[in-house]
């Protein structure tokens, strides 16, 4: 993606130099007509909540599987006044999140932030931030496989027909089977949902812990799958229901432990292995949420 010689060498301890906007690229890398095409697809997606809209995806300078769908969605909705936050596994500092943020800094020069409250667009891989979202914010999810029925039916032609006819019985077979074998539903992430009472959707590999955040959210949720060339959307204040049975209702994880850094009991916790005796600790997956709580506890202003 970037030539190493475009960056001044840094020592191990000084922070990296900020990325400079590269005027050789159109704002957001994609040309305007491609962005328009994408926005038209997104409008269609918003008009039919949960429905996968095909779009003419382009190759991006990051590989397929690294978030090209999310990047194309963000590129097509990004404006010069936007404030962009990018997270992966809940953290702003994972290599993939850093990479994407640097990409947009280079091709858009847009302001970036780690603070969820300040962001207008939040591109995320595998988590929804703990801080509640508000009206006017847009979540962009990176999606590897958009099709919830893909495990059941490899053929795209057939799954499109199943969606058209709302033939979702096969997915319930999977859930039934889990209960028969294990007494509970065994799906823990990328948990299938029904959007607006009609289309079955994959919320991307977020843990099921995050599914309730999709339901009736004030924010707009956009989903981009670059390799499969599909976008879909959940408009603000839309019902999103996780699949379950009447007598086996949907349940989320809860930890006995609290976050070792900030004491939170209501956030998704990552397990850290501390030594070779297997000592474990739990810390918030959402690093910004955790940092904010720590600062607040110390009485300091962020």
């Amino acid at each position: 993606m970037t030539s190493p010689t475009a960056h001044r060498p840094t020592t191990a301890n000084s922070p990296p130099a900020p990325v400079v906007r590269d005027p050789n690229y159109n704002f957001g890398y994609l040309d305007e007509s491609t962005k328009r095409m994408l926005r038209r697809a997104l409008l269609k997606a918003v008009a039919i909540p949960g429905y996968q809209v095909p779009f003419g995806g382009r190759e991006m300078p990051l590989p397929y599987g690294w978030g090209t769908g999310g990047i194309q969605v963000t590129a097509s909705i990004l404006g010069p006044d936007d404030v962009l936050k990018v997270i992966d596994q809940g953290s702003d500092d994972t290599t993939n999140a850093v990479n994407i943020r640097r990409f947009f800094a280079r091709v858009a020069g847009v302001a970036t932030t780690t603070r969820t409250r300040e962001a207008t667009i939040i591109q995320s891989r595998h988590r929804i931030p703990e801080s509640p979202l508000r009206e006017g914010q847009i979540m962009v999810f990176q999606v590897p496989i958009p099709e919830p029925l893909r495990w059941l039916e490899p053929s795209e032609a057939e799954t499109r027909t199943m969606h058209a006819l709302a033939e979702y019985g096969g997915m319930h077979v999977k859930l039934y089977e889990d209960i028969a074998q294990h007494g509970r539903i065994a799906t823990t992430y990328d948990y299938p949902v029904i959007v607006n009472g009609r289309y079955m959707m994959r919320p991307s590999p977020i843990p099921k812990f995050d599914n309730p955040k999709l339901d009736m959210s004030p924010a707009l949720m956009l989903f981009g799958a670059g390799r499969e060339k599909r976008v879909y959307a959940v408009p603000p204040y839309t019902r999103v229901e996780s699949l379950d049975f009447d007598d086996h209702p949907f349940a989320v994880e809860q930890w006995d432990a609290a976050c070792a850094l900030c004491g939170a009991r209501d956030s998704y916790l990552d397990e850290i292995i501390l030594d070779d005796r297997g000592t474990r600790q739990h810390v918030c997956s959402d690093t910004e949420y955790c940092t904010e709580r720590q600062l607040a506890a110390q009485g300091g202003k962020p």
Binding site: P16, D88, D256
Partner: protein
């Protein structure tokens, strides 16, 4: 005390520097020039242009250099670059019957008008490592004297067969519809032939080779013959509105392979040969031939033939043929997946805490997403730190 890891950005920058060093190799050796790569590794450059879907030998050579010889990575570089290029318009279709030929062979007739022209080919070399190439400075062999030159009259074999009505007609469909452009629109199934051919032209050579090979080994046999292979240069013309006629805007090297296959005929249609077609940028015979085999294999539906082999399955072939897509998705598994792994770990611990054996014949559970992240065996038998609560 656990301290959250920072420094992702610095790690990335360091990796750039290490990569630069790796690519340069031994600094006491002269650096490879892009011109050398373009000139002395034309087959690598051809493959990168074909799979990068962009005809520019110099850029392709640059990509090969930047990718340190990884041709799939180089194709990716060209594809990403292609995204930034504006499109002026469409050319007229190239006319391979007017090709300035370097090579032209046919397996279907002993002799053909214009003759068999072997050209520069590895076909008849003996695959013995030539250690004299270890030293530099060997003078290349002088090319054979051209004598009379090539016969100007080199009709395409397939045109001859078609004129005798032995080969299916290749006229455009009624109304001469625009070909599908997969770089602008997503693939729709069932795919039009133009979309399939475009997909195959950009496809990974190894994948097509294996798929084509499978058709020869009984997975959907179509009894192919090479009617003709042509390699050479064609002119590229564009119709200019303001001028009212077409002008030549450049030329391309291409390799074309036309295969003919037998066809039993159908009610109302006399038996005739059917076509499998392959066309690639640059000199790429193996790819062009594989493409022709797979093209024909995917036509079984429209020809009323049985369609039960992998190469007959349009979805299977077209969705897995692109190595830039495949490489990205396979390699994305290196990215952090610990949040999802965490939730699987917890479930497994809970299941093991209340262990019940799997019932007879049942496949062990996977995530509903079916992405292969099945619940794995773990050594840890500690009670799970999590429980589940109803979502409020």
């Amino acid at each position: 005390m656990y301290v959250a890891v920072k420094g992702g950005e610095q790690a990335i920058l360091n990796s750039y520097r290490l990569l630069d060093e790796y690519r340069r190799g031994d600094p006491t050796l002269p650096e490879l020039s892009v011109a050398q790569i373009a000139s002395q590794m034309p087959l690598a450059v051809a493959r990168v242009m074909a799979e990068g879907a962009l005809y520019d030998p110099q850029l392709a050579a640059l990509a090969v250099k930047q990718a340190a010889g990884d041709l799939i990575e180089a194709a990716f570089l060209l594809r990403a670059y292609r995204t930034t290029l504006p499109r002026f318009g469409a050319t007229l279709p190239i006319d391979t019957s007017a090709m300035h030929l370097q090579r032209r062979i046919s397996a279907t007739f002993k002799d053909v008008p214009g003759g068999q022209v072997l050209g520069p080919t590895y076909d008849y070399t003996q695959r013995l490592l030539d250690f004299s190439l270890l030293a530099e400075g060997r003078e290349p062999a002088s090319p054979p004297s051209s004598g009379q030159g090539l016969d100007p009259h080199m009709p395409r074999i397939t045109d001859l067969l078609r004129d005798e009505a032995l080969l299916e007609d290749d006229a455009s469909a009624a109304g001469d519809p625009e070909p599908v452009d997969l770089t602008r629109e997503p693939l729709e199934l069932p795919a039009a032939r133009s979309a399939r051919l475009q997909n195959l032209a950009r496809a990974d050579e190894g994948f097509l080779l294996s798929m084509g090979y499978s058709t020869q080994r009984g997975y959907g046999n179509t009894h192919p013959f090479v009617a003709e292979i042509r390699y050479g240069t064609v002119e590229v013309e564009m119709h200019i509105e303001e001028l009212g006629f077409a002008v030549t805007v450049g030329c391309l090297e291409v390799t074309e392979c036309q295969m003919v296959n037998q066809f039993a005929g159908r009610p109302g249609q006399a038996p005739c040969f059917t076509r499998g077609y392959g066309l690639v940028f640059g000199y790429g015979e193996r790819k062009a031939m594989s493409m022709a085999l797979v093209d024909r294999a995917m036509r079984v539906g429209e020809l009323g033939e049985p369609a039960d082999a992998p190469a007959n399955d349009q979805e299977f072939v077209l969705y897995h043929s692109d190595n830039v897509e495949a490489s990205g998705f396979v390699q994305h598994l290196k990215l952090p997946h610990y949040v999802d792994f965490q939730s699987n770990l917890d479930l497994l611990r809970r299941l093991r805490a209340g262990t019940c054996p799997l019932k007879a014949g049942v496949v062990p559970p996977a995530n509903a997403s079916g992405d292969g992240h099945a619940v794995a065996s773990a050594d840890d038998s500690a009670a799970s730190p999590t429980k589940e609560v109803l979502a409020s």
